[in-house]
């Protein structure tokens, strides 16, 4: 909350200031996205498992060829996007529950973002590189 929102004398009631903020200070968007990404991964689980089964014990040439096909690449990209988002939210909940030191909490939340985005971007780059055949 910025300083402008909390002057020494405010006409806003305490209830008005806290309404819609909730315990997470941001409302229910993370709660909802956690569910969307969870449902998405559940739906994508069978296709993702089939892709992995297809590649078991195969060499890199076969794997690269399979991973570069459009349906396979799209399924994996969706799965990775949903996973990275889901795990970012999940780990943030764990951090907020167990890390009580404010500075350590901020650092942890930040590292969590870096890790999750890193996982998403590295996987996406690899799949796009395979798809472009470079």
């Amino acid at each position: 909350m910025s300083a402008a929102d909390t002057p020494k004398r405010s006409m806003r009631t305490p209830l008005g200031r806290v309404r819609n903020l909730g315990a997470a200070h941001s409302g229910t968007s993370d709660f909802w996205r956690q569910r969307i990404t969870g449902v998405a991964m559940t739906l994508l689980m069978i296709p993702a498992l089939v892709i992995i089964m297809m590649l078991l014990g195969r060499n890199q040439v076969y794997a690269a060829q399979t991973l570069s096909s459009i349906p396979v690449a799209v399924i994996l990209l969706l799965f990775i996007f949903a996973s990275a988002w889901h795990m970012k939210i999940g780990m943030q909940v764990v951090i907020e529950d167990y890390v009580h030191n404010e500075k350590l909490k901020l650092v942890s939340v930040m590292l969590n973002n870096f890790f999750s985005i890193g996982v998403a971007l590295a996987s996406t780059y690899a799949i796009l590189k395979l798809s472009s055949g470079v």
Binding site: T42, M53, L55, R58, Q60, S123, L130
Partner: protein, 120 residues
């Protein structure tokens, strides 16, 4: 916390978190695999040497279970989110379902994996 009698639902709530954290770390394996596939045969052979080793197989087996358990346990949460399954016997049934289902699916996946490609 000590005043609570431990229930299966409480224990499984912690397992849901623990498997979530394990899956979080385990995504590194997924990234390594995809980046190696995009890098070339030598890098890919390293991944295969690791996943084919005893430790590698144990980790991937554990990862499979964590994924299946977390998914079923998550579906249990969806049922609760929709407002069903709160009676004592329903809670227990859903929780046992996630526990047994997670193990059963893991074994099933590995049987299919071995039948399909483990010998290649």
């Amino acid at each position: 916390m000590q005043v609570y009698r431990w229930t299966l639902t409480m224990a499984l709530s912690i397992v849901h978190r623990a498997t979530g954290i394990a899956l979080y770390v385990g995504t590194l394996l997924l990234v390594w695999w995809l980046v190696a596939a995009a890098s070339g045969p030598a890098a890919y052979a390293h991944v295969q040497a690791f996943t084919g080793s005893i430790i590698g197989r144990l980790i991937v087996f554990g990862y499979t279970w964590a994924l299946m358990h977390h998914m079923l346990s998550g579906i249990r949460h969806f049922v609760w989110d929709l407002g069903y399954g709160f009676k004592a016997n329903e809670r227990e049934a859903l929780t046992w379902g996630a526990l047994i289902g997670g193990i059963a699916l893991t074994v099933l996946i590995w049987i299919i994996a071995y039948a399909n490609g483990g010998g290649r």
